[in-house]
Symmetry: C2
Subunit: 599 residues, 2 copies
């Protein structure tokens, strides 16, 4: 193998332009392709910026030509040579460097390569598990490099904006104390303190509030967080969060600052101009019209509540639902009245996954109205429903009657599904919305008590304080979520900073002062020493970048992600460890005698 000795890269491959015509360049990179043609060898040389064509010939430099003959895909080369225009016939308009090439005056083979298990190119059709096992090759693909580079740019833009706005990035511990609230903790046994454990942080929530009590005023951190949950497609055991907290600011000021942050990031990284102010809807509104606290507003298709229209009908299914306190809601699907009967049957099945026991439909076809509930509701009611839903000829109305929670879930999912089927979603659109005024509490049927919807430090709205004891179900919080294209980008709240209100909230969720003290002791003590009014928010960075880049999986925007079994397929983590390590940590593995660990 050759070395770089005496050579110093002058340009990245993708950054050589016609301006360098006639100049000597020194390039380094990987062989994407080699072609032998007419006594010449053509090599496409790739680095992170792109690809350029290198031409070797015995007429240019004999030694280099001989080396070029040995070269294969993914060999690592350094090339010295003159930039020149290609012959008209060989110009490649699809390549940014397609009008030029480099005459190979010197070639060094810096390293060889085995044949990779898949082609290093975009849209490669290869099983994800192979891509993850050979992640270092997968990351050579231009689209993966772009993802990671954009991720860097997003974080850099965030930091620039926050630094300019007086935020300090302060690192908080990752070896923390386990708290029983929230998701399952990852635990770390302590060697020095036998029988005790650290927990990896689910978020820096407590520490950022303590920093506000410290008077740091404006804090942020791009922080690693950990949750030991069963993984869904868009979850990772470790994930990255933009975490912010600020003092002496109103909710209005926090929302505005956050909008400016988002505007800056999208502008800097994507050149996209988010229209400010971002629209705001309340949680009640979101649930009422979209059945979701993170509605996809790239399309409209709001729910219409037709409960009152059908309250008086003979139709038993509707009537019994309404009598039990349920409701009937409908969506109008534009221009889909010709839906085949079989597809309609499929939709019944679809909403069944979300708990709905049935689906009623009305097709306002050009040939007249068709509906399986016509005979129960009568044409007048059917017409009235159509009017309420704003239906026109050619539209399809879909109705669900059930408990409000089931209607919300099932009709909400159906709304998104029908939008996909009718191509209503503009994939290029970024539809932001704030969702405000979340309920403080939700009733937990299992535990027969109210629990905090966000977390028990979220401040209730001033006007609802009186209801904390009498009507907790109708107390709303100073909480806000930012939603993009139907995905929760992040959210936060103003926090309780006054001890008397904190105690009343704890009481509302059935937490005695003793329990509260055991769970949050040191934070509550800190609040006794002059806590300022404060609030903040947190954004899931992986998800944000995935949405910005229009990717389908967060694994595409994480350099070394884990599978749904929380395994790193490349390094094979987690792995077995030596018994000596366990002894030092004062722990045994349950299955130790089954030889699950190395002796």
């Amino acid at each position: 193998m050759d070395t770089m000795e005496g050579l110093s890269r002058s340009h990245y491959c993708g950054e050589v332009t016609e301006a360098e015509k006639g100049k000597e360049v020194i390039l380094c990179g990987w062989v994407e392709r080699r072609r032998d043609h007419g006594g010449l060898i053509f090599i496409d040389l790739r680095d992170r910026t792109g690809v350029i064509q290198v031409v070797a010939s015995p007429d240019y430099e004999e030694q280099s030509f001989k080396k070029a003959e040995q070269v294969r895909t993914e060999y690592v080369l350094a090339i010295r040579g003159e930039v020149r225009m290609r012959d008209e016939a060989t110009v490649n308009q699809k390549m940014p460097t397609g009008t030029i090439e480099v005459r190979c005056d010197e070639m060094r083979i810096l390293n060889s390569s085995k044949t990779p298990p898949f082609y290093i190119e975009d849209n490669v059709d290869v099983d994800e598990s192979i891509r993850l096992k050979y992640r270092y090759l997968d990351l050579r693909r231009p689209e993966m490099q772009k993802n990671l580079i954009m991720r860097h740019r997003v974080k850099h833009a965030m930091r620039e904006f926050l630094d300019k706005n007086g935020f300090f990035e302060i690192e908080t511990p990752e070896l923390c104390k386990s708290t029983p609230e929230g998701a399952r903790d990852y635990l770390v046994p302590s060697r020095v303190n036998p029988g005790k454990f650290y927990a990896l942080p689910q978020s820096p929530q407590l520490f950022k509030q303590l920093l506000m009590i410290s008077g740091m005023d404006r804090y942020f951190q791009i922080a690693r967080c950990f949750r030991d949950e069963d993984l869904r497609a868009d979850r990772q055991p470790e994930f990255t969060q933009l975490d912010m907290e600020m003092s002496f600011m109103s909710q209005e000021q926090i929302l505005q600052l956050t909008e400016q942050l988002m505007h800056y990031i999208f502008e800097e990284v994507l050149g996209h101009d988010i229209q400010l102010p971002i629209q705001r809807i309340t949680w009640d509104y979101a649930m009422k019209y979209y059945g979701s606290d993170k509605p996809d507003l790239r399309f409209d298709m709001k729910f219409t509540d037709i409960t009152e229209l059908v309250r008086g009908t003979e139709f038993k299914v509707f009537r019994s639902v309404i009598e039990k306190g349920g409701q009937v809601k409908a969506i109008n699907v534009k221009g889909y009245s010709q839906i085949p009967r079989r597809e309609l049957d499929g939709l019944v099945e679809y909403v069944g996954h979300y708990g709905a026991k049935g689906l009623a439909w009305i097709c306002f076809t050009p040939d007249g109205i068709k509906s399986q509930v016509m005979k129960f509701l009568g044409e007048d009611t059917i017409q009235a429903i159509g009017t309420a839903c704003g239906s026109e000829t050619g539209d399809l109305v879909l109705m669900i009657a059930d408990k409000p929670a089931v209607v919300a879930a099932a009709l909400g999912e159906l709304r998104k599904e029908m939008a996909r089927r009718t191509h209503l979603i503009d994939e290029n659109k970024f539809a932001f919305t704030w969702v405000l005024d979340f309920p403080m509490f939700e009733y937990n049927e299992e535990e027969k008590r109210y629990v905090a919807m966000h977390h028990p430090f979220t401040a209730p709205r001033d006007e609802d304080l009186d209801k904390l004891e009498t009507d907790p179900g109708h107390v709303y919080a100073k909480a806000y979520d930012l939603v993009l294209n139907g995905v929760e980008l992040g959210g936060g709240s103003l926090r309780i900073y006054q001890q008397d209100i904190q105690q009343r909230v704890f009481k509302a969720i059935g937490l005695t002062p003793e329990d509260a003290n055991e769970k949050f002791g040191f934070l509550l003590r800190a609040f006794e020493y002059g806590a300022p009014p404060h609030g903040g928010l947190a954004f899931g960075l992986d998800r944000m970048i995935m949405l910005m880049l229009k990717r389908k999986s967060i694994r595409d925007v994480i350099a070394f992600p884990k599978t749904q079994n929380a395994i790193d397929q490349m390094s094979e983590a987690p792995g077995e460890v030596a018994v000596k390590q366990l002894r030092e940590l004062h722990i045994h593995v349950d299955a130790e005698d089954k030889n699950l660990v190395k002796k």
Copy 2:
């Protein structure tokens, strides 16, 4: 308590200047001091920028004056009022805002405070364990706020420089695989993979090399790292590292880029102009003249090797050391010849801590030469030693005879100690040096084999490749450390990227291909697919910021540090966890039956 409702902070306390005279400001902060004088109440209001005086009087606003009467230290206030010049008599030149004050036209008490356990002021004389327990109050002290703000600025400057220079910050996993090399790992039991464990990363070393194989070209990360070691004063179980790696660059290019990075940070954050290029010494030179691979070059006081001068003497102590392959080295302490005999005896004890069995001394006093070895060495030799050491009248020469390693350690420490005693150290100085050409291997007496001095991926110098098999003790590495004021700021190396050389290095440290494969399997596989020449370095961020800020402890530059027992005294992490949590993780605590964990 009052709320902020309708008020919006207009200024930070410390940023109000005479330019605001006559204007209304709205300030928020904590009560640093309250004084009642002449019917007025004076409140020093503090936020993260500084302190300003607020004056309340019933003549200004009755209600606010009444509130001011209730106010105590660390209460949280919002103040609205007009900025005015102070009376000449009350001007405080020590305060940046000492010529102005704010007339209190409105006061809101946003929160009360218990009396804090210590004063919120700099140079507070309080036990560190109290400071750590009430860290949120400790962090209110201006010097601690400054430390954290400077830390933010350092990281921000790093990122700016590296972004401008084409480095991408890429996040690597923290749930990794345990590798048996290096320090002790923190382990994390896996719930989904029973009996298996993640390890928290000691550094992102393997991942950054994989990113180079991925063609990312220039990587950095300000990364959290973990080592479960017994803690010394300047160590923490979790610490932060600036981690860098780059491809296709020579050692010279890496050193130059690093120097520019350092220059940028010191300039941006401290306004300090590091003189470039930073001086370079070899590891051999550092050991020979300073007895340390991280010499403090704020002062000179080099070692003089006097072995040859005393080889022929009758002095048995020296002779027997020399005969066994040892050496005799001396330092010259300027102007310290009048050292009392008792202090000399103390020095003998001092070097004893570092393994030296004795210490010989020569005092070139104005009244003549005094030395306990005069009669053994004779005046000629004593004079010759003085000449060799560059001694003048008034100087003290200290000599140690021992094995080279002991001479280096003991005389190296003595050198620093004598510099402190003779006030030779300019505390305002930043003395940088590169230490280059580290040995590849050091001989491990216990294991009777060579081990890698840095890590086994460090590249040997090209000119030493031949010695890998024949004379590993004289193979030097393409490794470099950056040293500041006697502390290793960071270091790195060019890496081996060619498989044949990697195998030879493994062989030199007695690692069979099978062992190597078990330990580093996936990395070695990755190297088969076209690894580029690459190298990098890592800097300990906590230590760097400590040195920049001239602090004595890294705990002063970490928001929430742990004690030497790896305990967070505020949150009391690590803590006990529920047995249910352990069962889910498939582990038992050894002492579980002793009730060390909650049932």
